[in-house]
């Protein structure tokens, strides 16, 4: 497809500097997936409801379908690919697997990034179930019923973070 308004951007993605020229209308989720081939970030509803595309932008969670890639210029974007070290899962990922906090896995990347933000904001203190449920209210999961996800989050947040 021809570009209508090509824009050069420079940002960091998972610690790596990235430069690209992209059409202004391309959202951050599609930039990550199609241009950088970071397909861990999933696209569900494309209008900000489901939370599957949640990434961290300068440490703050954001719906990457509601942000243009050009708006990430100069910023640091963290995606789910930043978590595991090769085949060694991040303790948060291990906890989700252990507690059956995922089934189909579609919402999981967004859930992980939401919980990563929560873990940084609450580091060093006890986190309540209500806080976890409030944080996860922005991530729709149609498989698990959230019980395992909440158990996993509490175990991780109160033991590792």
């Amino acid at each position: 497809m021809p570009m209508h308004d090509p824009r050069p951007i420079a940002l960091r993605v998972n610690g790596q500097c990235v430069e690209a020229t992209i059409d202004a209308r391309i959202n951050l989720a599609d930039f990550l997936r199609h241009e950088l081939r970071l397909t861990g970030t999933h696209v569900g509803c494309e209008h900000g409801v489901c939370g599957a595309c949640t990434v961290l932008v300068d440490g703050a969670s954001a719906r990457s379908c509601l942000m243009l890639a050009v708006q990430a210029n100069g910023r640091h974007v963290e995606t789910v690919e930043s978590l595991a070290n090769g085949s060694d899962l991040h303790p948060l990922q291990q906890a989700l697997a252990h507690h059956h906090g995922l089934q189909c896995g579609y919402c999981t990347p967004g859930v992980l990034m939401t919980l990563l933000e929560l873990s940084r904001e609450t580091a060093g203190r006890h986190v309540t179930e209500a806080e976890v449920r409030t944080a996860l209210s922005g991530n729709l999961c149609r498989c698990t019923g959230y019980q395992g996800m909440v158990r996993a989050a509490l175990e991780f947040l109160n033991n590792f973070a």
Binding site: H4, D5, R7, D23, A24, R25, I26, N27, D30, E46, H47, G48, G51, T54, V57, A60, S61, A62, R63, C65, L66, M67, L68, V70, Q71, T114, E117, T134, A135, S137, G138
Partner: protein, 291 residues
């Protein structure tokens, strides 16, 4: 779906943004994008030019004078949610923001964006209505102060001229002996409100109502103030009989229902939530009195 094509502009000053708004056809300003991006992705709107206000530093931040807080339009909801100054001087805003979207949207969503978008289900316009917020618009011909009561001109439509942008919002600091409450009903927490109520109640030294401001939102084109109750209540004791007057006024506001929430349901809900909000605002005044 994806947003249709547009030309992207990233002004770094209010003056530059105003010039773009004034000279470009079919241009839209984008604040946090938490409403406009979905509307573009769903192809409900298709601007030819998108003017991103995200790099204009003079639109961000909270300043105060003796009796008002002045909030830059591009200040994020998350910043306001965490602001101790806002919690102290304008607690109704803090209470309302707890109901606004999710953290993932509050991190980018702004107070100015929400007020300009005027979604009937949004919370910040209801709080702004109850607080008699003054909106400061800047256009080619300079600054204009718009009382919130004059800001809505129809569904999802604000009173800004095509060359104007909302620069900041002035909110009065809560007077002594003031209690506030924000209550809403929806089926899932953080969803848009079916009905929401913002209440501010100030008592005099004898414990009678000195000032009351109640705004009801959610089921109406724009927030509605309970003016009859507000004027009748002054000098009265804040008790159930008086609050019933407010509830009856709320139940009489015309609205259009649907299959899920019929008109009668919404109207009864408005009455119930107004009573709850007033009870809660009164308890809030009393909790300050104890302190």
């Amino acid at each position: 779906m994806k947003a249709p094509p547009f030309r992207y502009h990233r002004p770094s000053s209010i003056a530059e943004a105003v010039e773009l708004l004034a000279t470009l056809d079919n241009a839209r300003a984008i604040a946090g994008g938490q409403s406009l991006m979905p509307m573009m992705n769903l192809r409900l709107v298709a601007p030819d030019h998108l003017i991103d206000l995200g790099e204009i530093e003079e639109l961000v931040g909270v300043t105060e004078s003796e009796d008002t807080l002045s909030i830059g339009a591009m200040t994020t909801q998350r910043t306001l949610e965490r602001s101790e100054r806002v919690a102290r001087d304008c607690p109704l805003i803090t209470a309302a923001i707890r109901h606004v979207g999710h953290q993932q949207t509050r991190n980018r969503g702004t107070i100015g964006g929400s007020l300009c978008h005027l979604d009937p289900g949004a919370e910040l316009p209801v709080a702004a209505a109850a607080l008699d917020a003054v909106l400061i618009a800047i256009g080619r011909s300079g600054e204009r102060r718009i009382p919130f009561a004059e800001f809505s001109v129809g569904l999802l439509s604000n009173a800004l001229s095509p060359d104007e942008l909302l620069a900041r919002i002035e909110l009065p600091k809560a007077a002594p002996r003031t209690g506030t409450a924000f209550v809403e009903f929806n089926r899932r927490p953080a969803d848009f409100a079916v009905v929401s109520v913002a209440a501010s109640l100030t008592l005099d030294a004898k414990g009678r109502v000195a000032h009351a401001a109640i705004a009801v939102g959610g089921s109406f084109e724009a927030p509605v103030r309970l003016r009859a109750f507000e004027s009748a209540g002054v000098g009265q004791r804040p008790e159930a009989a008086l609050f019933d007057l407010a509830a009856r006024e709320a139940e009489a506001i015309k609205c259009v229902g649907d299959d899920v929430y019929p008109t009668e349901y919404r109207q009864e809900l408005a009455g119930v939530l107004v009573r709850r909000a007033l009870d809660s605002a009164l308890a809030d005044v009393e909790s300050h009195a104890d302190a």
